[in-house]
Symmetry: C2
């Protein structure tokens, strides 16, 4: 006898049981239906790509490499290092570049699949999770970006989410900030990182930090030669990005911009007169606003929010994120943006692209917290009990009829045969209809049907029992 192996999952990975899967599959079907309604078609790429395809866009720290335990086998004399994808966008760029000549232009695809990131697992954050992406590759038109926002709106509505806000910004505006405010372009990332903290820390603190002087690195020798007062002062002084006070003032004006889309854009244009990047970004947002007005996306469902930056480095134009108004703390559930440079990692020319990705696990968890997920342990409609094992063929004949009529049916086959335990199985599984037949029924040509929700029971002739079961199931599914 071999030693027992402990049945457990690796840290950061999880199972999805029947009740969760049934809800998730319903959710994925609804998402897919919306994606297809907007003319997106499915694509599937492998879970595994050549390592070189993946590194660069994302820090190598996150990436899982796949190796054969007995060592790599070179293929065609070449040793290919392979790794698990960490998103669906980089594989899309690789796919598009490899097949550009035969793909329709634009290429509109949806893709659902799991991705892996070797981050430290935390409560609710896993190393493997599902993404559902839509992307339009090969169109620089703002119609494509507006359509993505339109899909985001429709998708959330189709999932029964009513209170959400899609926040839209443009990377061109953020990239123009250094020119507008007069700070070095290379500080943009640091500035945005600080602006991102305004809601938590308040405007004043952040402006202070932007304009406070840069911390001088003082050599240990010099530090030890300081007077103790100077040393304390050095340690207590706040240091910042060292922006000029006029830059600080401009930034303060920038972040004070608010109101509806028209208002935000006109204030922004006033502030940024002559700044080409910012004006180009504003023009794009105005087009998006125009297109969305012509669609059925209500103006309350989205807004221009100049503080939205989105983490990923590859965005080049409009960016989108979505917060649930009743659960803002979980962060964005549906985000994306335009990335006109990603495909050109593989090609001599650049290919415009825009898209968005839904965080299925995060959204599912949110819907569950908001009690919008119906939980049922099984999809089975009917359970056939076996009272008289010698009559098994008669029971199977009933099962055959039920299944032929499309009813999802199980028959008792557990080791434990007591009727009580057969019924307990149906109760635990919340199966709505139980068939109970003994010799009496078979001899009389009848079937006893138990309606588990109504706690009622009836005995009907065999030739009408399917109809009766159907009635119970149909009433249930209409509730």
């Amino acid at each position: 006898m071999n030693e027992l192996i402990k049945a457990r999952l690796p840290a950061g990975f999880r199972d999805y049981d029947a009740s969760e899967m049934l809800s998730r599959l319903r959710m994925l079907e609804k998402i897919r239906a919306v994606y297809e309604k907007f003319g997106f078609d499915p694509l599937d790429t492998p879970d595994v790509e050549i390592l070189e395809t993946l590194v660069g866009e994302e820090s190598g720290n996150l990436i899982y490499e796949l190796t054969k335990i007995r060592g790599h086998v070179p293929i065609g004399g070449e040793l290919q290092r392979i790794a698990s994808r960490f998103d669906l966008t980089v594989p899309l760029a690789r796919y598009y570049a490899a097949n550009a000549s035969k793909l329709p232009k634009p290429f509109k695809r949806w893709q659902m699949g799991r991705v892996r990131r070797g981050e430290k697992p935390q409560a609710g954050r896993y190393c493997e999770f599902m993404q559902c992406d839509i992307d339009t590759v090969g169109s620089s038109s703002m119609l494509a970006d507006a359509e993505i926002i339109w899909v985001m709106y429709e998708t959330l509505r189709s999932l029964g989410v009513e209170r959400f806000l899609i926040k839209v910004n443009n990377r061109k505006i953020l990239n123009g900030l250094s020119g507008l405010c007069g700070f070095p372009q290379e500080l943009t990332t640091d500035v945005l990182r600080l602006l991102d903290k305004i809601e938590r820390h308040g405007v004043e603190t952040i402006i202070d930090e932007l304009t406070a002087s840069v911390k001088q690195t003082i050599k240990r020798d010099d530090l030890s030669r300081m007077s103790s007062e100077d040393r304390i002062k050095y340690n207590e002084t706040k240091y910042g990005l060292g922006l000029s006070s006029s830059a600080g003032e401009k930034i303060q004006k920038f972040i004070a911009i608010n109101g509806d889309t028209d208002n935000v854009l006109s204030q922004l244009r006033d502030l940024a007169k002559g700044n080409e990047q910012i004006c180009a970004g504003a023009d794009e947002l105005e087009l998006i606003a125009q297109y969305l007005k012509a669609s059925d996306v209500p103006s309350e469902a989205w807004c221009v929010d100049l503080s939205v930056a989105r983490g990923l480095g590859y965005y080049t134009g409009p960016v989108f994120e979505t917060i649930l108004l009743d659960l803002p703390s979980i962060g964005s559930v549906f985000s994306g943006g335009r990335y006109d440079g990603l495909v050109s990692r593989f090609l001599e020319y650049s290919v415009p692209a825009t898209g968005a990705s839904i965080g299925v696990d995060r959204l599912f968890e949110a819907l569950r917290q908001m009690d919008q997920i119906e939980v049922r342990p099984t999809a089975t409609d009917v359970f056939v009990t076996v009272l008289d094992p010698d009559r098994i063929n008669d029971y199977l004949a009933l099962v055959t009829k039920l299944r032929q009529s499309g009813l999802r049916t199980s028959i008792h086959m557990a080791e434990e045969r007591a009727f009580k335990s057969q019924l307990a199985y149906a109760v635990k599984q919340q199966i709505p209809v139980v068939i109970i037949c003994g010799s009496n029924e078979f001899e009389a040509g009848t079937v006893t049907i138990k309606n588990m929700n109504a706690r009622s029971q009836q005995t009907v002739p065999q030739d009408s029992f399917i109809r009766e079961v159907r009635t119970i199931i149909d009433i249930k599914s209409q509730v």
Copy 2:
């Protein structure tokens, strides 16, 4: 500018484009519908398991380990080695063992997912492929095995396959062969491997090989001391498993057994009188035959075939495989069996289980070869051309109406604006309906609808255009 990265896939991995995915998704939906009709519920487990969970059942040669490029990070002080699953059965056993107390008995689950095996890629054989499994864990009843065969039958029928044969055998019969024929139990695998070749090499050759003497390893020194004639004779002599001639005769009688199920079982019982294992195996097959007779599986759809062994080592009872009668060369498309020992790798007690797995890629390829796959490059119903870009809001209003009515709709947004190229896009994508509107139509409040299959065109009032488009799409989908 960074150096261009070559856009390519790792050897042994593949993409699935829109037309293939649309067909595959239809196929997977049909499979799922049958699985659920039989009372199986979905389960999902991660692509990744602890290495120790996986090794042992399958040679470590096949397994891909996942490592972080920057090295493993110990979690909770423990260094977990993780690896990609190579099937869905071992993860099921792990899941069942970890959750046994809360799972219904029996536990009937279906699972679809990709698995990875680091084999040398060949034409049509990939390192990553999809499996669709059904399993019943926790029932030793032959009802469970008969139900699996029933599902296999229904699944293939629902996919439009008419000519197939499900071959059923029992490992107990094969394991009893050594006792029946009088050869050492440990030779069983070698004997079965040879019996598997009968169809190609003929009965006589195989019986010869079974009974030929075992090759004696002769030391190089002794070999060089032989006369050259003896050495040639030594090299030319056929060597085999060294079974006695009476064992050879018994095996010959065993493999000569054929006919319908009743016939095969009665011949087998005559031959194996008193052999407990074989008789137990025959009893189980008889029960399966009885149960299938009471279902709607016709007797022509399946047979007892004593030569079926199935490769995997974990089978303990009935085993199943399915060949397509019009394409037998591609091998079994739907196979499985009973494995009462697998879960006990993780538990103090043994848990009976049986199931089957459909090779989706292989079956899909077969259906394609048999012209049973409908290929369409897109699911999109309607394409809206843009003749007058200044009227974009009017076009978007049409798109809104089309999508609101559930029609899958795309609007022109490519860089190339010529009407000819817009139409070429719809032709290439085989989109059945194209909307063509210019200023004339918008001013007259009409819409021009082009039926691409009928090559006809009509101009209708705006308030009836959805109805007209619906008519074209509905007629098309009924064909």
